[in-house]
Amino acid sequence: MRIIVLSLASLLLSPFIAPSVAAAQEQAAAIFQQKCTACHTIGGGKRVGPDLAGVTQRRQTDWLVRWITRPDAMLAEKDPIAVQLLAESAQVPMPNLGVQESEARALIEYIGAQSAAASAPSTAAPAPVVLPPPSLGPVQRTALILFLLLTVLITVVFIAVAVSTRRPSTVDVKKAYGLRRVFLFVAAGGLLVALAGTLSRTPYPGADSRPDHIVYVAARQFDFYFSLEPIVSVADLSTVPLVKHLELPVGSSTEFRVTSLDVNHNFALYGPERRLLAQTQAMPGYVNRLRVHLDAAGRYQVLCLEYCGAGHHLMQIELTVK
């Protein structure tokens, strides 16, 4: 929602901005997109780092320039504001991203302009909505029921054996070994059946079909990016057209080509019923192709399921299936 507001705001504003200023703003926007959005929003609420809306009013420009260009040095010098920010940001320090002074000044101007356009962040945190649990997906339901049944069986057997010690007697070992053989065949047989049934249904993309759509996904601390062109490095984030509102047609097959720009992440797709549908790891230096059939229309959420640092639980992106 906030992204829509931002996008709309920038669309509305752009005709009113002089071309040269527009070009500089574009460059600043690109840098902001590439270097800042992982941890900050402007008017979109706190992420790992604070919401930057109005920061140009709250802080002196010179301080901001120093902070943006060399945050590590300022923390080492124990700048009081820097130390306080560190405490407020779950002890995740702002990294030195190699921003030059001129770029920093452009960023500050950009943030100021965007702050004016963005709605003021609400001071009160929205009341947390606790959603009820979703219904179980078919695979999860089978897994849980199977697990519970076998647990009950194990419990019953153990209890029966324990109770049997009330009446001790000798045991016919040969009969027992016979029973063990039966147990072996049943267990091995069951496992073989399960192997045969499940090994043919893996999520690894097959040869026989091509997907209807290919979407590139890059993950980094702590954000996901969709694009229709490959994103190989962080620099690409400012040159490749990113898709902020991904919409896919219902019933289509889509291949997500997932990579990571820093550490291991995970691309986990939750459907409109809020169940985990499919996932793949996002690995630096690799492309994992996740092919999904999007059979239900609605809002899909992507969460990161591989622990990746302090903002791990904040990494999300949405897509819509119509």
């Binding site: 959603l131 999860q140 010690t165 045991v171 499940t198 630096p284 399921l305 622990y307």
Partner: protein, 474 residues
């Protein structure tokens, strides 16, 4: 019954001290996830790292200490090396405490490359972490090698691995403890070497800027992690094979089937680790299949030989039920139940919707908390009561078992349910999408607290029992 050795007693003290603390850290984690401690939320990931490292380390060393103690019945491990390993472990623990509590190192217990280098904590804490692992690795490697040496002084390799049983010969008799220990110690050495490679490659990145292939690092890391966790389980099983018969007054001997089963485990455990990389689609599909086949296969020796064998041992025996024997028995059930959860998750098509959800901590907490922990505590209790002249008294053992079982399994059930409902693991706070996870977390914290009470009660009884028996003339 001999007196408990000072070294084993020291290990018991370490467990008695650290285990409750680590449980409290776990309760803290579930409480934060239940949104009850917002002011302490920023500590979640460092505490998660400490809890994981601590539990994996503790429940590797504790059963190994039990095995080292039990092996003294047959072989002569070096007490110098034993104390060295103890000291090294203590030093490692201190270093880990510093890097997490002071440095806020929070890469998670399996420190997946390259996160330790990119997590926002100071570089010194990552260096200290790697140094701590090195210290622990050296201590544990020496310990494992010494135990192998001790076994080797009495048994040849083929005897220690009970190959003569496979050929149909029962002489020389090899106790299952020796067989299982040999298998476990060999794979332990393999796991520790894998950890060495990982640490070296980490240092190569930190000092030389040389990045390693992330898939290779993940393979090596999970080879280490999977093997060390599984062999810890096997060490627990080893002491169960050794001590449980004393309560049933029936022997539990090696035979051809036992030999076959544990030799199979030696191979299977090295291949099953691929199930941790199912969602890394770049991994060659062949090894993904190998992972599922090996994971399924690993359940057969455990279920058909060890657990069935234990049940057969107990069935209609003159079993003396006391805390020690009950803990062994219930621990085996916990291992079985955790194994079921694990095998289900090791199915690729199921893993696609359970990977990195709470089902994962569900299954490993099952066979650890309600499996290995109980078996190890059973052995400790067995040692502590030594040559006690009188039987256990009082109804407290019912309370202890009741709290432990109810609290433990309630805690686990919350994990399984939440995992099936797609709640992710390792989340400090559940976002709106999965906010219902907070309820399960809160209930889990309550159950865990119940388990903690049962544990403390058990430890109290253990101490009391030890005091009684060490005072009494043997």
């Amino acid at each position: 019954m001999r007196q408990i050795s000072p070294l084993t007693l020291s290990w018991i003290l370490v467990v008695a001290l650290l285990f409750p603390i680590l449980i409290v850290l776990g309760i803290y984690m579930r409480t934060v996830q239940a949104e009850q401690l917002p002011s302490l939320q920023s500590w979640f990931y460092p505490v998660m790292t400490l809890h994981g490292l601590g539990m994996v380390g503790l429940w590797f060393t504790a059963p190994l200490a039990c095995v080292a103690d039990a092996l003294k019945r047959y072989v002569k491990p070096s007490s110098t090396i034993g104390w060295l390993a103890f000291g090294g472990t203590v030093v490692g623990i201190v270093l880990l405490l510093v890097c997490v509590l002071v440095g806020r190192f929070a890469a998670g217990w399996y420190f997946l490359y390259p996160l330790p280098l990119m997590g926002g904590w100071p570089q010194w804490s990552t260096v200290l972490f790697l140094v701590a692992l090195t210290v622990l690795g050296v201590a544990w490697l020496l310990w494992s090698l010494d135990l192998l040496r001790a076994i080797a002084q009495r048994y040849s390799l083929t005897h220690a691995l009970a190959w003569h049983y496979l050929a149909g010969r029962n002489e020389p008799e090899v106790p299952p403890l020796v067989l299982i220990s040999t298998v476990s110690l060999i794979v332990c050495v393999a796991a520790l070497i894998a950890a060495v490679v990982v640490i070296v490659l980490f240092f190569a990145d930190m000092s030389g800027g040389i990045k390693t292939d992330s898939l290779l690092m993940k393979n090596l890391t999970f080879f280490f992690g999977h093997v060390i966790v599984n062999l810890s389980m096997y060490l627990g099983a080893a002491v169960t094979y050794e001590v449980l018969p004393e309560y049933t007054t029936r022997p539990w001997r090696t035979n051809r089937v036992v030999a076959l089963s544990w030799n199979a485990v030696l191979v299977i455990v090295l291949l099953a680790y691929f199930h941790h990389l199912y969602m890394d689609f770049a991994q060659p599909t062949t090894v993904q299949y190998i992972g599922q086949i090996a994971s399924y296969a690993s359940s057969i020796p455990a279920a058909v030989v060890t657990i069935f064998g234990a049940l057969l041992l107990v069935y209609r025996s003159s079993m003396r039920w006391g805390l020690a024997s009950v803990l062994f028995f219930v621990g085996l059930a916990g291992w079985a139940i955790g194994g079921v959860g694990a095998v289900i998750d090791s199915t690729i098509t199921v893993n696609a919707v359970l990977h990195n959800t709470l089902w994962v901590p569900a299954h490993f907490h099952s066979y650890f908390l309600m499996g290995l922990v109980l078996m190890t505590l059973a052995y400790f209790y067995h040692c502590c009561q030594g040559a006690a002249a009188h039987a256990e008294r009082g109804v407290s053992r019912w309370w202890i078992m009741g709290l432990t079982l109810f609290g433990g399994y309630g805690f686990l059930l919350m994990f399984y349910l939440a995992g099936a409902l797609s709640v992710p693991r390792r989340y400090a706070i559940y976002p709106a999408e999965v906010s219902y996870g907070a309820g399960y977390a809160g209930a889990a914290a309550a159950f865990a607290a119940m388990f903690l009470v049962g544990l403390l009660w058990l430890l109290g009884r253990m101490w009391k029992r030890w005091a009684e028996t060490s005072a009494a003339p043997t």
